[in-house]
Amino acid sequence: MLNSSPFFDLDWKDANGDYAYRLNASPVSINGANPNYYFQYSNGKDETVDLIQNIQAAYHINRFIDLEAKYGINYEKEDIANVYKNQSQNINAVSRSAFIGGFSSNAGGLSNTSYTTTFQNALTSATIHLDLEKDLHIKLPITATTYAAYDYRKNVFKQYTTTGDGLQLYPVYNMRQTNTQQVTVDLKRPFVTFGWLVDQAFDYGSIGGVKAGLRSDYSSAFGRGATPQTFYHGNGYLRVSQFKFWQGLSAILPEFKLRGGYGEAGIQPGAFDRYVVLSTKSIGSALAFYASNTQSNPDLRVEISKETEIGTDVTINLNKGEWFSNLGVSSTFWKRKSKDVIYAVDAPPSSGGGSYLTNAFSLSSNGFQFSLNLNVAATKNLAWDFTTTFGHQTSKIDAVSTNQDIVLTASAGSTNLVLKAGDKIGQIYGLKTFTSIEQTRKDGTQYISKADVGKYQLVNGRVVDTATRGIMFTNETFAIGDPNPKFNASFINSLRFKDFITLSFQFDWIYKNHLYNQTKEWMYRDGIHGDFGEKVTINGQTAAFSNYYISAYSDMWGSINGARNSTKDYFYEDASFVRLRNVSLAVDAARIFSIKYFQKLQLVLSGRNLWTATQYTGLDPEINAGTSNSAYERGIDHNSMPNIKTYQIGLNLGF
C-alpha cells in the first residue's frame, strides 16, 4: 500500500463488483497493491485456548526449615486457518497475471495450522533459616538463609499444517473443495531441562548483606551424555547510613546504600540445534532427502553472559514541609559480556551449504541508569510524585570466532548491516551527499574538477548538478553513523487530588537515535513521496523538480541511475523524539457524591502514545527494523508497523 500512488482509488470496483489488485502505472507504483483486494479474497482465523493448572504443597517443619513443592501444567492450543479464494474471475488480477496466497495458481487455496504446547514445571525447594542471636544466642545480629531447589521443566511443542491447493468458484471453503491436499508441516519439539539451584545469604542486621549461589542444569539440547552447566551469581549491599558515624548526616541524608552484583546466565542452543538430520520434501510422488540450508552443529556450546553492576541509593531530605520533602537518587552502572553467542554464520557456497550454527561471536555492552524520585507534594488534598530516569548504553562486537564479518538480512538501502569485530552493533555504511563543491574522495582528491565548478550549485546544503538537477553523491562508501541513542530519559508524574481524582502521565525522551528511512527511499523510487511536491530553487528556477528527488534514490557520482536504492546518508535521519507515552485520568464519583450501593464508581480515561514531537519524517521515530525483535538489526525503518495510539475508557465499580 505504501507503494500505491495517491491518485488511485482503492475503493473502485469493476463491472463484476470486484476490487482491483495491482494498481500500477509504471514507472510509478510498480509494487502497489490494494488492501481491499485482500479483504475481498482472503480471510484468516486465529483461536487460542489455554489451560493452566497448578498444585502446590508447603510444609513448615519448624522455624528452621520450610519445604515446598509446586507442579504446574500449561496446555495451549492455537488454530490458524487461512483462506485465499479463487481469483480467476478477477479482471485486474488476470490481466496483471498476479494473485495472492502463494498457491500454484490464481485458484487460491487454504491452509490450516494447529500448534500445541504442553509445558510442565516441577519445583521442589527447601529454605533453611538461622538467626545467630535468637537461635544460637551469639551476640551478633547475623541471619543466614539457605535456599535449595530442584527445578524440572518439560516443554513439548507440536505443529501440524495442512494445505489445499486450488479452490472452486462457489463459496465453500474447506479441504474437500480443493484440488490437491498435502501435509506441509508435521513437527514435534520436546525440550527437557532440570537441575539444582542453591543460594546462601547472610545479613548483618540492617547494615549489610551478601548472597551467593549457583544453578546447575542438564538440558535435552545436549542429549543424554551431557554434563550439567553451572552458573554462579552473587550480590551484596552496605547501608553506610546505618553506621554510627553517619548519625550527624542522617537528618539530611537518611539513606545511603551501596550495592553490587554479579550474575552469569546461559542461553542454550535450540532444541535440535545440535542434532544433524536430513530435511524431507515430497517431489513428484516420492520423498526427497536434503541437508537443510542452515546446518546444525553437534559441538555447539551454551551461550554465556556475565553481568556486573554497582550502584547507590540515596535519600535526601529537602524540606520539612508538605512540599518537596525528600528526593531519592539511584544510580547503577552495569557491564555485560556475552560469549559464544550462537549464530548461523555463512559457509562458502562450494561447501554445499549456506550457513552453519556455531558459537560465533562475543559482545560486550555497558551503560548506566540514573533515577530520581521527588516527593513534590504530600498535602491533605494533593499527593504528587515525580520520577525521572536517564540512561545510556552501548554494545559492540568484541570478536567473531570464524574471523568473518556477519552479514545480517535487514537491509538499509543496498547494503546489509554487518556485525564486525570491533564495531558497534548497528553501524551503517553508505554513500554521502556532497555538502560542498570541494567534496573529496577518500584519497583526498576533489570530485568536481576546477573547470566544472560552475556546473554545480549548493541547494539546501546539497550540491546539485544544474543541468540534470540531480543531487551529487559520493561513489565510495563511508561510515554514516551509529543509530543508537545518546541517551534515553523518562519523566513520570503521578498526582492524586483529594481522594477522587488521580492523574498520571509519562513522557519519554530518546535523544540522537537515528533511523535509516528505507520506507522513504522506496517511495522515492516510485515518485510518490510527499517530498516530490516540495519546491527547490536550482539555477534561479523554483519548482518541484522530480529529478532532484529521484537522484537521491538512483544516482551516485559518475553514474545516473547506477546506484538505485543504494545506502545514502540522505535517508539516514535523526529520530530523536519526545513522546507522551501514557496518560491516565481517573475520577471516582462515589467519593464525590454519596451513591447508594456503590463503594466505588471510578471512570478511567487513558491513552498511549497520544503526542509526539520529532523531526523524523517517517511514520514513527520508534519504529523497529524489518525483522522484529532482532537484537542485532537496529535503526532501520523498512515498512515496519508503527506504534499505535490507543485510547481507553474504563469503569471500576465497587459495592
Binding site: 500500477n24 509504471s26 514507472p27 519448624n62 526449615i65 519445604l67 490481466s95 497475471s97 498476479a98 500454484s104 495458481s105 521442589t124 527447601a126 530442584y150 524440572y152 518439560k154 491447493d165 490437491t180 491436499q181 520436546p190 527437557v192 532440570f194 542438564y218 535435552s220 542429549g223 543424554r224 535440535f272 542434532y275 538430520v277 536430513l278 530435511s279 524431507t280 520434501k281 517431489i283 513428484g284 516420492a286 526427497a288 532427502f289 536434503y290 541437508a291 540450508n293 555463512d346 562458502p348 557456497p349 562450494s350 561447501s351 554445499g352 551449504g353 549456506g354 564479518d405 552479514v407 538480512t409 543496498s414 554487518v418 559518475g558 545516473i560 541511475n561 547506477g562 546506484a563 538505485r564
Partner: protein
Amino acid sequence: MKVKIIYILCVLVVIQEGCRKEELNVQNPNSPTPENAKTEAGILSLALGAVYQTGFNGITDTKYSGSFLGSSFWFLAPAYHDLMADVISAEAANNITNQVSVPDYVVFDDGSKVTNSAPAKQVVRLNNSRTKAGNNMFYFEWTWMYYLNNACNLVLETVESVPFTGDAATKKNALKAWAYFWKGYAYSRIGSIYYAGLIKNESAVNSGLYRPSAEIIAESDANYNKAMEALNGISTLSDYTAVLKVLIPTQCQTGKGGALTPAMWIHTINTMKARNILANKRVKDMTAADWNNILTLVNNGVTSSDLVFTGRSASAGSFLSATTGSVAAMTTGDPTSTTYKISERLIQEYKTGDQRLANNFSKVTAYLNQKGGFTFSTRYRLLDGGNALSGVQIVSSRTVGAYELYLAATYEENELMKAEANIKLNNIAAGLASVDAVRTYQGSGITAVSGVITDQAQAYEELRRERRTALLFRNVSLYDYRRWGYLDDISAGGGRTNTVVVSSTGVVNTKATINYNFLDYWDVPDDELSLNPPVTGSAPVQNPK
C-alpha cells in the same frame, strides 16, 4: 521423624534425576538422520533431493532469496544469461536484473547516441561483495551449482554402503550415473560462465585451489564420462528403470520427459559434451578438429524420439512453480506487468512467416521503458500457452504442469550443433538439412533452405537465427552471444549492428548499433572468496577484462 522426611525427600529427588537423564535423549524426532539414507529407499530420496531440492531450490537464505521475484534456480540463473544475451530485459532492481544488461551505448538510426553512465561491467563488479547479498549476480549460479555438486558428492559417498535388492550392481550404477551426470552438469555450467572454479569431489572437504575455467570444463567431461561408464554397467533394465522412475519426478514423466533408457541418457551426455566444446570457444577460434569433435559427439547425440531431462510444475510435490519458477513463465504476459520482457533483438531473429512467432507472441502497444534501460522498450508480449496454431512449438505456459522446461540437452540443440559443424566444415547442404529438420520439428512452416542456400556465410546466418529462436529458454543464449563476439567492446570487434531498438520515446530503429561490452566470463563471487580465499597455486579469480 523430621530427619526422616528430609531423607526421603532427598532420595526421591536423586531417583528423579537418575530417571530423567534418559529423558534428555530427545534426539530430533521429526526428521531422518544421515544414517537413514543408507537404505535403498533412503539413497533414492537422497539422490532425488540432491538435484531438485538442493540443486535447483537450495538457496533459501533470506539474505539472498528475500529479494527474489520468482523462485528456484530456473527463474534467476538462466535469466542472467538471457538478459545479457538480449533475449529479455528487466526493469526491477531486484538482484540488479535491471542493470546487468544495459549496453554501454546505442547509436540510433539518426546517428544519435545514448551512453550508459553506469557500465554494466562496473556495476556487477561493484556488487561483487558479500555484504551486497542478493545484488551480487555472480553469487547465484555459482552457489546453486556447487550445492548440486556437493549433494551429488554425498550421494556417491553413501551409495557404496547401501544394501540393494535385485540387481545391486545395476541399481548402484544407475545412482552413480545420476550423481556423476549432475556433477558433470554443475561443472559444465561453472566452467562455462566463471573465469575460475573449484574442483570439489568430497562432500566434507573444502578446496581453496581455484582453477581456470578450462580445467573445470575438463572436470565436467570427466564426470560425464564416469556417468557413461556407469550406464554401460547396467545389465538388468527393469531394475534400472525402477530407479529412474523414482529419480524422475512423476510430473516430469510426460511429454519429452520420462525414464530415459541408458542409450538415451548417453545421447544426452554426448550432446552436453559437445556443448562444452562449442560454448567455450569463440567461433572465430574454432578449428576443423573442434568441429569434427563436435560432429562425432552429436552424431551419437539426442535424437528426435529420445526422452530428455525436463522439469514441470505440479500442484503437489512440485519443485518448480508454474508462475514464478522459470524465465519463460516470468516473461509471459503483458510487458507492463511481467518481471522479464521480450527483447526486440529476439523478435528480429524470427524469419518472415515463422509460425513460431505467430503462435507465441502478440504485438502490444509499445511498452516504453523509462528507467534507464534505453534498449529495453518492446512491442511484444509472450503468450500464455500459445495462439492455438496446430503443430507449432509453444514456448511458455503458466498453467500448472503445462510448461516443459528443458534442464539439459534437447534434440534441437544437438541437431543445430550438427548443422553448425557441417556448415563450418563446408558440408553446407547437410548442415542446412539439420536446420530444416529443426524448423519442421518445431512446426515453423518455413520453406526448406537446404540446397537452396549454398553460400557458407548465408547458411551460417540461417543457423545463427535458428539457434536464437529454436533454442529460446534452453540455456545457451549467453554462450552463443559470447562466442559470436557480441558481448565484446566494439573497439575489440564486438557489439551488434542492424538491430531493432525502440527508443524510450517510441521511435522504432532498425539499423541501430549496440555496444554491449559485458563480461564474457564472470569473476568468482566474493561470497566464496571471502570465506574460502585462494590458496597458493590458484588461478586468477577475476577476469582481467
